[in-house]
Symmetry: C2
Subunit: 343 residues, 2 copies
DNA sequence: CTGAAAGCGCTTACAG
DNA sequence: CTGAAAGCGCTTACAG
């Protein structure tokens, strides 16, 4: 049933050599226009399809990029990394490449196993999408392939990385709260949990410092345990006027909790999030938040990995992708100063 | 920098032939245990990696399956198909296969272009995930490869398909409402929009028929225009006691709308959804709904396409994957009969 | 303009 | 148990 037409088949029918067919189909020099047209026509008629495996073996390239996502970030309600993967696949397409998704199982991460895409030479480069354990980072370093960390980084590993500018995003949105007249501002998030959450905290802290506000440890609210499992947020006794949440989902939960305790958002407390994901528009009120630019992250990641494929010594370092504040209805202005002015 | 060790390199170092190395590494007959151990050890030391392109060219198989999702189903807040793709990739792994994601652009769908994964022979089979146009279905039929429709089907195309049992799921959940004492029950959804929505409507209708209830066209509420764009749901003058929604997102919107109009769910009206996606738990109250078994769909799709790869004549027909009702808080019991009894 | 030869990395079938 | 030869489908470098 499968036709499986080869260049040789076309050559035979036309009484020419497969070299000529190859040249004609790839528009190379050295075939008369007349013959070229005949060859192309016959190829279409015979349903010829290019065999990319043959090209791969010649070039030593698979024309695939592996995208590895740790299993733990793939729960039923998590789709952020899948979205990023989708954009990566889209951008790879414009380079003539394909994206192969590889979920890194907890077991393989624990046992420090190489992924099959690596040991079978299925890819020309690997994008690791989502923080892996310190030990697995070493395993990644031992892989003899271009590789890139996406959405996290590691100080010890000399592996290029692309991350959202978490620090600056949190800094900006905290500045916005302060410009809006807020002075008691809480941060919600476990600052020992991931580098993203920690960096967002530091951006918040920098904003406080710059405005001469002191960091009140009573206003650092935990939202998850060491394993990343969400816990109930304990509201402080002396309530702040605003909350900077490490992500929209937590901001969403916080709004719920505040509402149920009788606090109105934003009348009694303002709440801001981070990510601009689905939770930002589903919460009541809709959240003012920092949008993570998924498309730009994917675009940058693809550009960077493709450069490394053609030049394995290429170093791109740590690239920060800017987010931008999306203004919605969860912040109350406590003063008269225009709140939408930039710093 | 890339080592790129081949079997020949190993053979040279050991003064044997590459045939022997090949046999040793793939645990074939015909190599002494002693030599086999030496070869394996050296292979590890040299960082040897199998070249799957060479295998592909020998076998005429790419060991990839393409998963094609029409662009229109990949909006920023849509992740259902990406979840399905993720599960497909996971299940393919256990067959030694990989999943290549291919977003079918609106343009390519319009122009009836073959996807690159097909014309470059990158895959051994294609799963089309999400309804494509009638014309594109013909294009798919012309592809000389095992193929499968996932989450939709077409009466004219003799292409095997796997769908959620939309009909039966809607039938069951409507039965449940009727058992709970409801008699005026609306259906929310554009019944000309997709086969899924239409089939869910028919399941709802069958339940009415079986219980001697008449279909009231005032209670068929539209939720989207011909292009699939959501429109505001118009509530009927004579309110029903329950609403069967074609999906959770619409049920979520409906709850919002009912709440804002002063109707309480489920006290004044009951609402049920379909899908059991993120909207089911984010709505107030949480929704009773039909869960679509994503994992089972992916598992079945992978099994089916793998069978077709090894035997292109294999026909699997239209396979229905059962969902199950998830009971939550959006249905009020209007009678005393136990509402959780099965029919 | 056209094509014979060699080679990419591996495996299969066969010979020793 | 071990290996020389041929071949998978294509391309490159070279010769005519």
């Amino acid at each position: 049933m499968r036709t499986n037409v080869t260049m040789q088949d076309i050559a035979n029918k036309l009484g020419v050599s497969s070299v000529t067919v190859s040249k004609a189909l790839s528009d190379k020099e050295g075939v008369s226009d007349n013959l070229k047209i005949k060859i192309k026509k016959l190829a279409t008629e015979m349903g010829y399809r290019y065999n990319s495996a043959a090209k791969s073996i010649k070039d030593g390239l698979s024309y695939n990029i592996g995208v590895m996502i740790p299993q733990r970030f793939t729960g039923p309600n998590e789709s952020f990394y899948l979205k990023v993967y989708q954009q990566i696949a889209l951008h790879l397409d414009s380079y003539g490449y394909y994206g192969i998704l590889n979920i890194l199982s907890n077991e393989d991460e624990q046992l420090l196993n190489f992924p099959r895409i690596y040991s079978e030479n299925k890819v020309d480069g690997i994008i690791i999408l989502g923080q892996v354990s310190k030990q697995y980072i070493e395993t990644v370093q031992n892989m003899d392939l271009p590789k890139l960390f996406l959405d996290f980084y590691d100080e010890h590993a000399a592996i290029d990385s692309i991350v959202t500018d978490n620090f600056y995003g949190a800094y900006e949105i905290t500045n916005y709260l302060i410009r809006s007249g807020h002075r008691e501002i809480a941060y919600v998030g476990n600052i020992y949990s991931t580098s993203s959450i920690q960096d967002r905290f530091l951006g918040y802290y920098k904003s406080l410092l710059e405005h001469g506000l002191t960091l009140d440890h009573q206003l650092l609210l935990n939202d998850r345990d060491e394993n990343g499992k969400y816990i109930d947020i304990e509201l402080p006794e002396d309530m702040p006027t605003a909350f900077v949440c490490n992500c929209d989902q937590i901001a969403f939960e916080l709004c719920d909790r505040l509402n149920s305790k009788g606090f109105k958002v934003p009348e009694d407390c303002s709440v801001v999030g981070f990510d601009n994901d689905i939770y930002a528009t589903l919460s009541t009120p809709q959240l003012t938040t920092v949008e993570v630019d998924i498309d730009q992250m994917a675009r940058t990641a693809v550009k960077s990995i493709m450069e490394k494929v053609s030049n394995p010594n290429r170093q791109t370092g740590r690239i920060l992708v800017q987010g931008k504040i999306i203004f919605r209805d969860s912040v109350r202005k406590l003063n008269d100063e225009s709140a939408t002015t930039n710093d």
